[in-house]
Amino acid sequence: MYDFALVFSLHHAHRRTLAMALTREQIAGIAALARLNLTPAEIPVYQESLSKILDFVGALQRARTEGVTPMSHPLPGLSQRLRPDVVTEQDRHEEHQRNAPQVAAGLYLVPKVIE
């Protein structure tokens, strides 16, 4: 619900125009969607630079793209390969978990989620 509400408010506040200056609230909203904690000092910095970037990429609106198929991949015709459904990996979870901030009994620990 959290994410949808934010996206919805972003959408409504700014669907009228694309080239615009982003507000503090919008930057806070984008940061929340991206799970980034910003300090109060960072917000105006990103307000300015993101507004400039969006203005800059606004140049794309001038391109003639009627009937053009969007390109999602640089090599056309490449299809996803399938492989036989056999086990190829060994269990190396202890080695992988050595990089984890907090582990117990093979489990990743996080702050309590359910009260």
Partner: protein, 487 residues
């Protein structure tokens, strides 16, 4: 043996095989240079001396018994976004400052299998986002031609290290110019292969439809040798292409008579500095002398490359970098209040300013209501740019033009203006969007600073690019120039 660093990678590989010198001697010589220059250039994040010397001893034993591969005993370095088992892989970020990879990237494994010895991991812009190497958690890399200037980025550490002859060759990655632009600004040779030519497995992902690994070396011949060992199909990378790798070294010498060269009209614009343009025009005359036929070619949608890239790349980055959650690996904030606080503060504190800027740009352009206007439209323009390249390669064999609009700029000169920084990549990004191979070749100097010529080829045209660059390097000696104090 104090002159070992003056030999190219190709010469070192041949000399080791002929047992003119040992791998331990070669590795010691380069490690000594790294140690004495690291304080000035900051080209490395980690130096793995002990491991390198142990591997060198093993290489000498293999060579003594007549064994070994194409690169046995030759020292190299890896950009610090290639995963190296048991060695920190930081990606230039606080987020991964404590990350010790549990596996080798395919590129790392292949070069190891060919016998190359890694001396360490090179500095870079954080998560490969940058064109100046000023965005590293480990501080900026300095350009050996003038330490007040940037080396370019994001593979700035690899470029500075090769230019200063701290290592004869290094890996890099190029998402929007990150091999070619620093190669140009540091006066060395760099190649970004076709998308899918080199495995991305174990390369920390930035923008997955654009990222491609490649090499930075002194000469095109060295690049051919290193790339031949790195390239090829990898089942661990779903976009790796199942096509045989030609012998790039064997293809180097083909004559260029009749080569059809297209000059990228849009690149010779008013943004290109006059001195840089003169060097490019002089290089083109060399190709004419070699029998190439020059003609101007227009790629009308190319000027839209930069805005297209700054939608597509941040969008993919915002998705790729969602994996850094402070739970499984990487940085975790102190005393998180709850799970959301853990995510938000770990990411807020672990990522640097430019990475956060791109994650937020990507989040915005992918969000509901904006997807069509930005991301979908950028994908359509990307198709138009790719079509331009395809039409051009129906008429010419290779495209040529400048690599960068200016020579290296001062550290700090563009850090306050992201758009000015993004425009450094104005000539590089088109090749990434279209997925075609491209390289930078040293072609002279402006006020003592190196200038790079860009050569672009059709998909899987690496052998032709390296051949064209090699023939040019037989006629010129720009690639052999070494910055003052590093000879």
């Amino acid at each position: 043996m104090s002159e070992l660093h003056k030999r190219t990678l190709t010469e070192l590989a041949a000399g080791l095989r002929a047992r003119k010198f040992s791998s331990v001697e070669v590795v010691r010589a380069f490690l000594g240079r790294i140690e004495s220059r690291q304080g000035t250039l900051n080209a490395f994040v980690s130096v793995t001396s002990e491991q390198a010397l142990a591997e060198a001893a093993g290489a000498d034993r293999a060579l003594a018994s007549g064994g070994g591969g194409a690169l046995t005993g030759v020292p190299i370095a890896h950009k610090d976004l290639f995963c190296t088992r048991g060695v920190r892989t930081s990606c230039g970020s606080r987020m991964l400052d404590n990350f010790v990879s549990p596996y080798d990237a395919t590129v790392v494994a292949r070069l190891k299998a060919a016998g190359a010895i890694s001396l360490g991991k090179t500095n870079m812009d954080e998560f490969a986002m940058g064109s100046s190497n000023e965005n590293s958690y480990y501080g900026p890399v300095r350009n050996p031609w003038n330490v007040q200037l940037v080396p370019g980025g994001s593979s700035g550490g690899s470029a500075a290290a090769v230019a200063a002859r701290l290592v004869p060759g290094a890996t890099g990655t190029d998402t929007g110019g990150s091999i070619r632009q620093p190669a140009a600004l540091c006066g060395i040779t760099g190649i970004k292969p076709t998308y899918g030519r080199v495995s991305r497995f174990g390369m920390v992902a930035f923008a997955s439809s654009l990222d491609q690994g490649g090499v930075l070396t002194v000469s095109a011949a060295d690049a051919a040798l290193m790339l031949r060992e790195m390239a090829g199909f990898d089942p661990n990378d779903s976009t790796s292409v199942e096509a045989p790798v030609p012998d790039y070294v064997a293809a180097l010498d083909a004559p260029l008579a009749g080569l059809k060269v297209g000059l990228l009209k849009e690149f010779f614009d008013k943004g290109l500095e006059a001195g840089n343009e003169r060097r490019i025009r002089e290089a083109l005359q060399v190709f004419e002398k070699l029998g190439a036929q020059l003609r101007e070619v227009s790629l009308p949608n190319l000027p839209l490359s930069v805005p297209t890239y700054y939608v597509v790349a941040p969008a993919e980055a915002s998705s790729n970098l969602a994996r850094f959650d402070g739970v499984r690996y990487g940085y975790r904030c102190k005393e998180p209040r709850d799970l959301l606080d853990l995510y938000q503060r770990s990411r807020g504190e672990g990522f640097g300013a430019e990475v956060k800027r791109r994650i937020m740009t990507g989040t915005y352009v992918l969000s509901a209501g904006y997807y069509d206007a930005y991301y979908l439209r950028a994908q359509k323009v990307r198709q138009l740019i790719t079509d331009d390249f395809r039409r051009a390669f129906a008429e010419v064999d290779v495209l040529m033009g400048p690599m960068t609009p200016t020579a290296a700029f001062a550290i700090g000169a563009k850090t306050d203006d992201p758009i000015a920084m993004y425009l450094n990549d104005i000539y590089t990004i088109g090749a990434n969007l279209a997925g075609v191979p491209a390289m930078s070749v040293p072609c002279g100097f402006v006020a003592g600073l190196p200038v790079g010529l860009q050569i672009v080829g059709p998909h899987f045209g690496e052998a032709k690019l390296l051949n064209v660059a090699h023939r040019y390097q037989l006629e010129t000696d720009w690639h052999t120039r070494v910055p003052q104090g590093y000879a």
